[in-house]
């Protein structure tokens, strides 16, 4: 049975936690048009291993066998994430933390 978009987003976050030791949390951005076909899974990944650039830089990828939805991913440092929460750093157009789903790093990952 095909994975739903919600299940796929969770699968992807779980996989990223498994291969990225410094990934602290994954924030899934949910937009009003989330159910429209073609609307990507949007992940903001808070990763201490990335470089602070003072900007949020999303990259988009086509669906694949294990991720059967388009996906857009941006990674930020923990400090940049704090700046986003204080509205000092802008999210990509259309993204907001107001409607989002948080995946915290599992203790054992």
């Amino acid at each position: 049975m095909a994975r739903t978009k919600d299940e796929t987003a969770l699968d992807l976050a779980t996989w990223h936690f498994g291969v990225e030791p410094e990934l602290a949390r994954v924030v899934r951005i949910i937009t009003d048009n989330e159910d429209e076909p073609g609307e990507p899974i949007k992940l903001l990944e808070v990763n201490a291993a990335t470089v602070a650039t003072g900007s949020v830089e999303p990259f988009a990828f086509a669906p694949s066998a294990s991720v059967p939805f388009p996906t857009t991913i941006a990674e930020v440092t923990p400090e940049e994430f704090e700046r986003i929460k204080r509205n000092e750093l802008q999210l990509p157009i259309g993204w907001s933390l107001a409607k989002s789903q948080l995946f915290e790093r599992p203790r054992a990952a």
Binding site: G18, E20, A49, T50, V51, F59, E75, P92
Partner: protein, 174 residues
């Protein structure tokens, strides 16, 4: 030209130029008599243009800001591995090592651009710099932080770049 057409045109132009830079990089990498700064300069340009091409495509990012802004590659490397998820199924340990080395190399390559982090790290692939009272030309410098490129981990990193160049159209949003 609409905003979308302009975005696509810039993305296609950046990937074309990145591929051309990559071909020159490969030629220079075969020439042992050529100082390493020249091939590293090309590698830095490949990485920057590659990241810009992906950033421009399929996002609503401001075109003019992206075209003129330096940097971006370090934040591309991590997300790009998502496109390789199927191939690394069941190989998490191998992938963890590859991601870690790729992040390290991406950071070092980004520092090769003269506009990046000059006060802390003046070494770059293009222009002479001064450190502790000594002025050095890039052609006389060995770039020890990038020696990893010639080792197996570095070659895997270069395969990753080549893959991102080759798959640009294949992994575009439908």
């Amino acid at each position: 030209m609409t905003e979308g057409e302009r975005r696509r045109a810039f993305a296609e132009a950046f990937i074309a130029q990145a591929r051309s830079d990559w071909r020159v990089y490969r030629i220079l990498a075969e020439r042992e008599e050529v100082p390493s700064c020249h091939r590293l300069h090309y590698l830095q340009m490949v990485c920057e243009k590659l990241a810009k091409a992906y950033r421009l495509r399929d996002t609503k990012s401001p075109i003019d800001e992206l075209v003129s802004k330096h940097s971006g590659f370090s934040k591309f490397v991590g997300p790009f591995f998502t496109a390789l998820k199927d191939e690394y199924s069941g190989k998490d340990e191998q992938l963890r090592g590859l991601i870690q080395r790729a992040r390290t190399l991406a950071r070092e390559i980004e520092r090769l651009a003269p506009a990046i982090d000059r006060s802390a790290s003046p070494e770059n692939a293009e222009y002479p710099w001064e450190r502790d009272g000594t002025v050095t030309a890039p052609c006389d410098f060995g770039f020890p932080s990038l020696q990893l490129l010639t080792q197996p981990g570095g070659r895997a990193f270069q395969n990753l770049i080549e893959r991102a160049l080759d798959d640009f159209e294949k992994i575009a949003l439908p």
